[in-house]
Amino acid sequence: MEHYTMNLTLKVWRQKNTDAQGKFETYPVSGISSEMSFLEMFDVLNERLINEGKEPIAFDHDCREGICGACSMHINGRAHGPWAGTTTCQLHMRAFKDGDTVTVEPWRAGSFPVVKDLTVDRGAFDRIIEAGGYVSVNTGNAQDANNILVPKDKADAAFAAAACIGCGACVAACKNSSAMLFVSAKVSQLALLPQGQPEKKSRALNMIAQMDKEGFGSCTNTGACEAECPKEISLTNIARLNREYIAAGLSYEK
């Protein structure tokens, strides 16, 4: 792909802290390489802001290789920008052309309060995992690897669900700020495997209870989460979560 440089107008959400009133600030950026990542473009802008003695834009980032899920940016109305199956760090500037205006917002959800600028607190996801997204294992020697047989198709489906990096794009993309895709991936990766069976019922019920408690909306099956998920987690996981809920809710004695 041919390399080019571009000038852009950035409209970025600036918010001092959780309680402050935020607003959009406009920043012209010039000489941006089409081979830069979106975050590198922000690095260039922040470098300039620091040199000018201004406050740099706060944004989350960590691995910059598409596997940590930190880089939460809502770019021109799309979670992680216009490319499918891509995190913001893997979005390259060749997705834009010279003269474009790019609007960057934080994830918008009551359950993800803005910490500063584009940084949001996704602690709600941690609390959902704490409510049941685990298997209890006794300490001691690990047993033989092939003691527990796992069918290949089940292993593949569990692995596909386990690809969820907890980035929150599903919540950001959903018109209801629903966390169902996240919770369904975390429930599915365990429900599909033999190791997940003992705590199957309490897991589904407790994680859903926590999800509701955190104030996420409910799922209306629009499919926006699946379309925006950088790990392309399937809606079939949400159907599985619903089945887990029905099965557990109708039979769990507690």
Binding site: K11, G22, F24, H74, N76, G77, R78, T103, E105, R108, A109, G110, S111, A173, K175, N176, S177, S178, L205, I208, A209, M211, D212, G215, F216, G217, S218, C219, T220, N221, T222, G223, A224, A227, E228, L235, T236, I238, A239, R240, L241, N242, R243, Y245, I246, A248, G249, L250, Y252, K254
Partner: protein, 227 residues
């Protein structure tokens, strides 16, 4: 888990919305089958006998009241979920993805449902109230006296504005069911490559097109017969 807890979570409420919704889907099939007798060229005999059966048979009466309760339950729960969903995003986005990430129909469920609810209230007032408590002429078939709802329907649909209102109501029904029918199956956890195509096909073609068009044809034909 207690029943009250089971139906009080976000998924529990959605299960009720889905189940009541599918019951209402089955109702529209029955309702359309009966109503199409309005277009029969028999001066209203088939329709009036059908209407009398529907308003006197005890089993049908039981279902009819159940139906009204189910409509109310469906509407209240769906609105409750909708308000909760709106509240889950206190600060809105400046730019929304629109149709890039989801279908337009899937995002209009509350609006279309509200149009439909208003339509149902008007429709009940127009004909159900008239049949049960209103003043209708009578007509005799084979020595038995029947209320002539048929002629009242034909009188009502001489008014163009009422015909337009009914067509709008049916557009609401169509757009609501294009997403609603298949969405209920997903809520029940029934998402399977082998059946998704069929569910989608029935949702779009039967409930999204055939049935609403079938209903809408009735006032339109009656109107054109009258001019």
């Amino acid at each position: 888990m207690k029943w009250s807890q089971f139906f009080n979570t976000s998924i529990g409420k959605k299960l009720l919305v889905g189940a009541t919704g599918l019951f209402l889907c089955s109702f529209v099939i029955v309702h359309l089958t009966g109503n199409l007798s309005l277009l029969k060229d028999d001066g209203g005999e088939a329709f009036n006998i059908y209407a009398a059966f529907m308003s006197h048979n005890p089993f049908v009466q039981f279902l009819a009241w159940g139906l009204k309760i189910i409509i109310v339950l469906h509407a209240i729960l769906a609105l409750q979920l909708t308000f909760r969903n709106r509240a889950a995003r206190p600060v809105k986005y400046a730019i929304n993805p629109g149709n890039q990430t989801s279908s337009w129909f899937s995002r209009q469920m509350a609006i279309m449902g509200s149009i439909l609810l208003i339509f149902i209230l008007i429709h009940l007032k127009d004909f159900w109230y008239l049949m049960h408590y209103g003043d209708l002429q009578s007509v005799t078939y084979g020595g038995e006296e029947y209320k002539n709802l048929y002629s009242a329907v034909y009188m009502a649909f001489k008014e163009l504005w009422l015909v337009v209102l009914y067509v709008i109501g049916m557009i609401g029904l169509s757009f609501h069911l294009v997403h609603g029918f298949k969405s209920a199956f997903q809520t029940f956890g029934l998402n399977h490559v082998k059946y998704n195509g069929l569910i989608n096909f029935v949702g779009v073609w039967l409930f999204g097109i055939l049935i609403p068009v079938g209903f809408a044809i009735i006032p339109v034909v009656i109107y054109f017969k009258s001019i």
